[in-house]
């Protein structure tokens, strides 16, 4: 069966200027570029201003607390549970 509704749509689309799609995608590209720039630099720039006026770190830029390193004495060997490897055979 023919689909003249689709044919009509295709005819309308063919009437659109061919550069329209390129124009839209270039606009999108520019917007995405500026979006990325803003996302990258605006929080850091704000952070600088906040620090200059004596404020605290912005919550979005606050680094997650690193795990505290356990206090290990590297000179004493760990308690072994299995057989001890002794290459000299002593």
């Amino acid at each position: 069966m023919h689909n003249n509704l689709k044919k009509l749509q295709e005819e309308r689309e063919a009437m659109l200027p061919p550069e329209l799609e390129d124009r839209v995608s270039s606009h999108l590209g520019t917007m995405a570029y500026f979006g990325n720039l803003i996302e990258l630099f605006v929080p850091n720039a704000l952070q600088v201003v906040v620090r200059m006026v004596g404020g605290e770190d912005l919550p979005c830029l606050r680094r997650s607390k690193r795990r505290e390193t356990p206090n290990i004495d590297w000179r004493t060997p760990p308690p072994s549970e299995g057989p001890i490897f002794n290459p000299s055979g002593a």
């Binding site: 069966m1 023919h2 689909n3 003249n4 509704l5 689709k6 044919k7 009509l8 749509q9 005819e11």
Partner: protein, 151 residues
């Protein structure tokens, strides 16, 4: 759907911004395209309602089509209509009917997807499609008399 080039361009821009601003509300209950479709449809219907306050969105509002709902109307009523006449007929269709026919026959959405877009049940959508076809047929007959629909 809006039948106005300038209005459609403005709507596209507004819908694009609306989608971006509401991305966080997308819950993945439907596919992304269905979600965007739904925003677009509702936005366009709002514009149409603002433009013409008493406009009929669907032909179900017209009493005479309720009686003819029982009759199954073949797809060829729409799909095999001569393109220029089809264009005229579509211009005269209520916006909701036009949208539902576009979803079904141009974008080839499934009944389930159309139901998700319009927030209606699948059986309601089937009924709506049938009514839209009946409306198209009646507009054709009003305009071109009993001339055969195909070429």
């Amino acid at each position: 759907m809006l039948s106005d080039d300038g209005l459609a361009r403005d709507a596209t821009q507004d819908i694009f911004i609306k989608v971006l601003l509401n991305l966080g509300k997308f819950t993945e209950q439907s596919s992304f395209s269905t979600w965007v479709y739904s925003i677009t449809y509702n936005f366009c219907i709002d514009i149409i309602r603002k433009k013409k306050k008493n406009i009929l969105i669907f032909s179900e509002d017209v009493g005479k089509f309720n009686a003819s709902v029982e009759v199954e109307i073949p797809d060829s009523v729409i799909l095999e209509m001569e393109t220029q006449r089809l264009d005229k007929v579509m211009e005269l269709m209520p916006p909701g009917d036009k949208a539902i026919l576009n979803m079904k026959y141009i974008d080839e959405l499934q009944i389930k997807e159309i139901a998700a877009v319009l927030n209606k049940t699948e059986s309601a959508i089937k009924m709506q499609i049938m009514r839209a076809k009946a409306k198209a047929q009646s507009i054709y007959e009003e305009k071109y008399g009993t001339e055969p629909i195909g070429k």
